[in-house]
């Protein structure tokens, strides 16, 4: 997704672009996500600024002819619920700070909650409604952004694996080596997501991207029973957590195609692709607590993916001062679909020697120590 967005904005900025992926389009984390474009789950700071910028760009992209429908763009809004009064107080406090940062956040009293979500569990303390939250179908989004990038002149090589980053005697980037031949370019953008650390290593630099596994449960298709992206307030804490242990907090939403998607689990278990009944069980338990009618709704399937996690939960976006010509656009954890257009546009701006719309200092790729801390 991020690579597709970088290619699109760079090609539209007039640069000559070649997009290379070792797999197919959307073959990595993109194809295993839910397609969240969220501002609600972010605390004020540089990531929220990038999210707000991206939400605006997504709306622009969706307004292009045919694009909104093709990527199933839906500004459905998010509803964050709190089960108990203490949780609600913390949630309301966060909402106030978010509003100051430019987020639209509307408190919802317990007795108004059913107007927003008629089938939600009774007895919840209250919620906050975030009208800016939106969704796309992530694989379609990536594929159609790639299509638009190609229409703007970008080349595409799927199934090509980058095996080395080519550098001049002076150390500057001069292209990449792939298993299908060399591609020469004065700038290389590393948008390899969860595998971004490996590409960085090819250029001789350290970028600590770690996989954080997540499962998604998918139900049988239903008529619209759930109207927003609904999740529990502890999700925000889980997203911001550093723990390697399993965390699950219910995230439930209906989709344009009918099935309901249920997330979100987080655990650091490397690239382990095996199915885990305990994780999926806790997702089901969380979802049925939020929406009791789901008890009898069938789960059809479940899939898993690996979020690109970075130690401080901020992506690496911008030039790498250690290697002239190397740029990074990875490490967006679970927010990559949402943050992609902003990231792509910022990368296109720095590639064209323009001043980026946002300060890239917090996203500096070299902000981590060279050696892993013990």
């Amino acid at each position: 997704m991020t690579g597709a967005a970088c290619a699109l904005y760079a090609a539209r900025a007039g640069l000559r672009v070649t997009l290379v992926d070792r797999g197919p389009v959307a073959g990595g984390t993109t194809g295993a996500g839910e397609g969240n474009l969220l501002v609600s789950d972010k605390e004020p700071g540089p990531e929220l600024e990038l999210a707000l910028h991206s939400v605006r760009l997504w709306a622009e992209l969706a307004a292009e002819p045919g694009m909104g429908a093709a990527v199933e763009y839906e500004r459905k809004g998010g509803v964050v619920v709190a089960a108990a009064p203490q949780g609600l107080a913390a949630l309301a406090g966060l909402a106030v700070e978010q509003c100051a940062a430019g987020v639209e956040a509307v408190p919802v009293a317990a007795d108004e909650l059913h107007d927003l979500e008629p089938h939600i569990a009774p007895g919840l303390a209250g919620a906050v409604h975030y009208p800016q939250d939106a969704q796309v179908m992530p694989s379609l989004a990536a594929a159609h952004l790639v299509r638009a990038a190609r229409a703007a002149g970008a080349g595409l090589h799927t199934g090509w694996t980058v095996t080395d980053v080519l550098r001049t005697a002076g150390g500057a980037v001069r292209g990449v080596r792939t298993d299908h031949g060399d591609i020469h370019a004065p700038a290389v953008v590393n948008a390899a997501g969860t595998w971004g650390g490996e590409v960085a290593a090819l250029a001789g630099v350290r970028l600590p991207v770690l996989p954080r596994r997540g499962f998604v449960l998918v139900t049988e298709p239903l008529p619209r029973m759930i109207h927003h992206k609904v999740y529990a307030a502890d999700y925000v804490a889980d997203v911001a957590s550093d723990s390697a242990a399993l965390q699950t907090s219910p995230v439930v939403e209906g989709t344009a195609a009918g099935p309901i998607l249920i997330g979100a689990s987080r655990e650091r278990v490397g690239f382990d692709r095996s199915f885990s009944l305990p994780v999926v069980r806790s997702l089901a338990a969380g979802a049925t607590r939020l929406f009791p009618f789901l008890e009898r709704v069938r789960a059809m399937r479940s899939y898993l993916g690996f979020r690109p996690y970075m130690p401080d939960h901020l992506p690496a976006v911008g030039p790498d001062p250690r290697v002239p010509g190397l740029f990074h656009a990875c490490g967006h954890e679970g927010a990559g679909i949402g943050l992609a257009p902003g990231t792509g546009q910022l990368i296109a701006q720095v590639l064209s020697d323009k001043t980026p719309d946002l300060d890239l200092a917090p996203f500096r790729p070299d902000r981590f120590p060279e050696k892993e801390a013990e």
């Binding site: 389009v25 694989s139 449960l217 069980r281 009898r296 059809m300």
Partner: protein
Amino acid sequence: MSADPHLAVVGAGPAGLAAALAAAARGLRVTVIDSAAEAGGQFYRQPAQGLGARRPQALHHQWRTWEKLRDGLAAHIEAGRITHLKGHHVWCVERKPHAFIMHALLGPEQQEPAAVRADAVLLATGGYEKVLPFPGWTLPGVITAGGAQAMLKGGLVLPGRTAVVAGTGPLLLPVAVGLAAAGAKVAALVESADPKAFVAHTTTLTAHPGKLAEAAQYATALLAHRIPIRAHHTVVAAHGTERLEAVTVAALDADGRVRRDSERRISCDTLAVGNGLLPHTDLAEALGCRIDRGGVAVDEEQRTDVPGVWAAGETTGIGGSALSLAEGHIAGRSAAARLRNTQPDPGAWTAAARARSRLRRFFSALDTGYALPAHWTEQITDDTVVCRCEEVPAAAIREAVDELGAGDVRTVKLLTRAGMGWCQGRMCGPAVAGLTGGEQPPAKRPFACPVPLGVLARAGAPGETTQG
């Protein structure tokens, strides 16, 4: 390992029953878990009770073999060595440190949970039909060959009055004969394989006097019922408005392409299409078992590469009931020894092992002879629905491949939703792979059937009650 080891057998077809009997006869406690109302699987499918079938054996081969399995099962149930759980749909086998838990659904709505705990598990989940789309295939009146046979064996209803049987594979013969014997007019038996393709394997194929005799019986029956055989032909399209009225049949040229000048229309109200079977591997895949050429990979003792998991019958590769019986027998004996921490003696099952290698050779030779037309995907018009669950036409799949950069089945699925619906790609998988131009990858279905979230939320949680 417990003092009274317990083996769970998933599936009560020929492989599962042979395994259960072999294991129980050697002192294991066995639970057979099966989704059907009666034991027998697809091959020995039993007529529903209450229909008053007088001679069900008329539709079955090897009735004596079935009687032995049935009576053996009854005796072990009586003796308390075997428990037979009917109507249990296993949706997941969970691997615990020293045990396996079979999570199942039962009841008419498949909403009630049940769980069985065992020391080891033997997967005998059989196969399912390979379905391929063609123009008109969704019309009422178009059924699968296996479906026609199941209707004949189970419901004893005649599916239609004038039938065409088409596709490829050894199942077409008994289906055509069965339909004719039940009173239908079989207007044609359309087989896409080229008879010449079998010539190279004559030695292997004629090494089976039993199979030859069986084939000769069918040939005689086809003649007796005056069923016209069209070899190296294929059904190009099915026609009808409300339901099936006719099919267009055409000859294939040497390259396997349809010869347009040979097209002819045959009136019929039933079309039974069979293109062979595929192994059912969902439970094995979710357990992490290695899959080889579509089936669960097993060793000489029918063990998978996951400790404590055996597999037998068509889940390991398509090969018919006799091979399933041999594999099941070996698996049951191996499990009986291994669960008592003893080395099994392969010398004790040499007859079964010989039958197994002979039948595997035979079916691999058959497999190379029976073949889809080489260019079968060209017959799928753009407006033909490929994925029925999600209503995805062939055009959408072609667009994903040609314009959106999808070069593999998974990406096509993500971009078109083909295979995301109720059947989870069991039906459209081969067609999507064909249209994409790639191999059909292992499906990775964590749930072997849809499971209510309320059941899932409690499955395997502390406090859940388990049998066994």
